[in-house]
Structure formats: C-alpha cells, structure tokens
C-alpha cells in the first residue's frame, strides 16, 4: 500500500517526531509515483505534491498515527478537497425543459449515459426524453432508440443539422410535457475544429442548462488536453466518469477537475441503465491512491 511504501522510505531515513524536509521529499516521491501509476496527469501531480508539501512541512507527528500514515492522511484530505463537494445531481432548470447536452470523445459512454440520466430524472419525478443527435456513427440512433424503447423513455431524432433537430425537440418537449431533454451527440476529437464548432452551434440553438463531458475513467494523461479543449471550445459544467466498475484507478478524475475547475457529477458503474451513481469524492480519493 502507499502507507507501507512511504513507511519504508521514511524508515531508511531514520527520522522520527517532526517530519523533516528530507522525510517529506521521500514520502512525496512515493505519493507522486502512486498518482502517476493511477493516471493522474504529471503536471497535476507536480502541483498536488507542492500542496501536500506545504501542509506537511514542520507538522508535528500525531500520537495516534505513524509519519507515513500522517502523510497519507493529508494526501487523502487534499484529494477529497480538490475533487470537490459541489451538488452532484442533475440541476433542473426553472424554465423547462431542462436541456442536458452530453459531449465527449469516441466511445466514452455518452449514448449509454443518456439513458442513465433519463432514468435518474424519472426517479426524481421528471418526464425525460432523449434525442439521438449522432447521425454519423452507423446505427448510433438505433442504439439510443433501442435503449429508450426498453426503458419506456421518450425518444426523438431527425435528419439534417443537429441544431435544428434539437430545436424541434425542445418545442416538441414543450408540447408533450417532457421537462428534461437529454442530447446525445456524436463522439468527436477535441482537435477536430469542425466538430467542435458543431457543438457550439448546437449550444447556441437550444437553451442548454447543463453540458456534461462524458469521459472514460481509464483515460490517461490526455485527460487534461481533452478537458481543457472542451471547456474552451464549448463550455462544460461537469463530467460523467464512466466504466468505474472496472479496476482503473481513475486519476483522470483529478486531472479533469484540476485542469478545468469543473466537478465530476456522476459515475457510470456498468452497462445497464440503472448503473449510474452520484460522484463520491472520498471513494474516488481512496481509489486513486490504490
């Protein structure tokens, strides 16, 4: 464990009582290694290491904890604080329909998440409809339609420009009394200017209350690039981290949060429509530390 690794590093240095600078450096080297192994972006790791150093430098060792345990406690607390404790559920607009736009890289889990969020909205007493705006990927619309039919969730799609389909979906929602509209968009690269422009057009055409970046929990160092690019190009309100039912440490959660300042709102924990949880910073912190 991280505590053991730090423990043996400190043991080699023979310090006791107050954590000396060389103790802290040795401990932080282990912390940085653990975070890199967990896929936290290397720049975020550096910054985080400095924060922890400031907090532990000169701190007297608590009676109940070993120096290693003390460092890990600070690390854990700092991680939880960074990961944030914003309200994590869906924020419903005062003027329905609440429009939630899902964006992200190819294969992240947007289409699956769309139906998950629809079910969450329904559990919270709302009437959701999902709009299939991925007209690019073969059978993408079929995928969402199949999921929607299985779960008896309203579904809409169309042909032509996605901003027009979305705009009609908003009008339709008003007429049918659906008060939550979830837009499933095509996967795209953050470096594809044309496709990023499409998202801007979409956001300009309908009153989007929430733009959520759907990201794979296994994402590596690239998470920072993706997060920043989507935030700059389109503006995002938060993240959905998917495939957390696997064993990836999920350092991308910290990378995305620190790089953009936006919170992780939801965790995808399986392929079924019910497999969505609110994001738990303390659980994520423990997971990242391994």
């Amino acid at each position: 464990t991280l505590t053991q690794r730090i423990g043996s590093a400190l043991h080699k240095l023979g310090g006791r009582g107050v954590l000396r600078p060389e103790d802290i450096d040795a401990a932080l080297r282990e912390v940085r290694l653990a975070l890199l192994e967990a896929d936290v972006n290397f720049k975020v790791v550096k910054e985080f290491s400095e924060r922890v150093k400031e907090r532990t430098l000169g701190a007297a060792v608590l009676q109940s904890l070993s120096p290693a345990q003390q460092v890990v406690k600070v690390v854990h607390e700092e991680l939880v604080a960074l990961l944030g404790d914003e309200a994590r559920g869906l924020r419903y607009s005062a003027r329905p329909p609440t429009v939630v736009m899902l964006v992200g890289l190819q294969g992240a889990g947007k289409t699956t998440t769309a139906i998950k969020l629809a079910l969450l909205a329904r559990r919270e007493g709302h009437r959701p409809v999902v709009a299939g705006l991925d007209l690019r990927r073969p059978a993408a619309v079929e995928q969402l339609r199949t999921l929607a039919e299985r779960e008896k969730v309203g579904f809409t799609t169309g042909h032509g420009a996605v901003e027009e389909i979305a705009s009609e979906a908003v009008d339709e929602a008003g007429q049918t009394g659906s008060d939550v509209l979830i837009l499933d968009t095509a996967g795209r690269l953050h470096v594809d200017d044309e496709l990023m422009a499409e998202l801007r057009r979409l956001k300009a055409a309908v009153p989007v209350s929430e733009t959520l970046l759907v990201a794979d929990a296994m994402t590596g160092q690239d998470a920072v690039n993706v997060g920043i690019a989507f935030e700059r190009a389109v503006g995002i309100d938060g993240f959905v981290l998917t495939k957390l039912d696997g064993d990836a440490r999920g350092g991308a959660a910290l990378s995305l949060r620190v790089a953009t300042g936006k919170p992780v709102r939801f965790a995808g924990v399986g392929e079924k429509p019910a497999d969505l949880e609110l994001f738990h910073p303390d659980r994520m912190a423990s997971r990242i530390l391994g």
Binding site: F42, Q221, D245
Partner: protein
Amino acid sequence: RALASPLDPAFYAGLEELLLAGDVGPSLAARLTDSVRRRKPLTLEEARAALEAEVVAALSAKPRSLELAANPSVVLLYGVNGAGKTTTVAKLASGLKQAGRRPLVVAADTFRAAGIEQMVAWAERAGVEAFAGKPGGDAAAVAFDAIQAARGRGFDTVLVDTAGRLQTQHNLMEELRKVARVVGRALEGAPQESLLVLDATLGQNSLAQARAFNTALGLTGLVLAKMDGTARGGSVIAIESELEVPTKLIGLGEKLEDLYAFDPAWFARALFG
C-alpha cells in the same frame, strides 16, 4: 520547451515528462530516460535517435504482419467497451477486400443495443458480407455457424466482432474463452489471429487489460485505435516488452481507410512529438 539540447541541465527531466505525457508509465519513463542519458547524445537529433532506438528495442521483436495463410483464416477481435473493435473489424474487412481477399464479417456482439446492426451497417458500407447473430444469442454459436458458412461459401478470412467487456468481469472473460474454444473446434488452428483492441487514450489500465486478456486467451497481436487524437498510446511499450505481443495495426480515424500497419519507428518518433 526545455528540450532544446541534451546538454541543457533540464533536458532529461523534460524528456521524462514527455514520456509520461505519452502514457509510457512512470517506471518505464524513468528507465527509458536513463537509457538515453547513458548513450550521451550531444545534440537534439542524437537524443531523438537514441530514444527511438531505445523504444524500438523495448518493443516486441515478433513479426507484425497478420497471419492469414490459412484458408480460411479466422481473426478474433476483443477488448474493453468502446475501444474501437466494431469499427476496426469494418476497416480490416475493407482493407482485405482491397487486397483481393474475400472476408466475411461476423457480427457476434449479441449483447449490446444495436451491436449487430452497427456491424452489419459497417459491413455494407465496406461492401463485404456479414454473418449476423441474433440479439441475445450465444456469441460462440454465432462464431461457429459463421465459420461453417465461410468454409462452405469460399470466404478466405473470417473477422469476428465481439461485445465489449472489462477484464474484471470474470463471467464475460469466461464467455470470451468459450468463443475462442468453439472457434477452434469449428476450424483447426483457429483463431489464427487473436487481437486485443486498445484505446490509445487510456492510461496504465491498458497494461492490466493486456495481461488479463493474454492470460485468458493468448494474444497474437494488439490493435491500437484512436491514435489520431492527442494521446500517444505509450502503454503499448510496456505491454509489448512484458508480454512479447506485437502491435499489428493502428487506427487513425473513423473511416474505413483509417487502419494502418503499426510501424515501431513511426510510433517512437510520434512519442517525441
């Protein structure tokens, strides 16, 4: 940035960060940086060449061409959810057709919503035939029937698309092992290629995936998809080095033509940016 000259004191720290940024992983990044340093390059060009040589040396020495001598040859593709399997099957089918072969695509993802439809639609776009399972059907049975059909109708390559699964889902890994076994029963020596599709944007979990799928099935190769983004797919170095499995194909986009043979030198150079 700090990477102007290897004689600059910040150079090797910068090089290590570059490798980290490419998802090489912390211990391998340190090891590769050290190997470059020990070669004592005097110019940036020498450093680049040194890194390229070290990366290529770490990669597998096994051949990177697809083993398609058998008639028919069966290629089984698998990997975690959303990695790019279905799209890769389509691209491979298209490429094989261009090369004068007669591939049969097998839509054996009988689990995911519209999994079969997506594969069938792609096969149509590629102008190749598809053998489709039924939603909820047994993937192994689909693969078996498809291979029988292929033999009867003169297809020389059978490409089997499977449902995505996480390596931690033991029952699904068992299901995949059954698919591979049944494929072997349908045709001796099959599957000739057993390919793990990896998403280049993923980090160190790719190594865990490769180890698990290798233990369960025995990989003959890797496909590194989504290399057209900004991620560099550096985790394949550790995978190739540890498991001796070669990356055979690289995905550089979402169109049928966006599949290329993996070139170690190109890959090493791309890491350096």
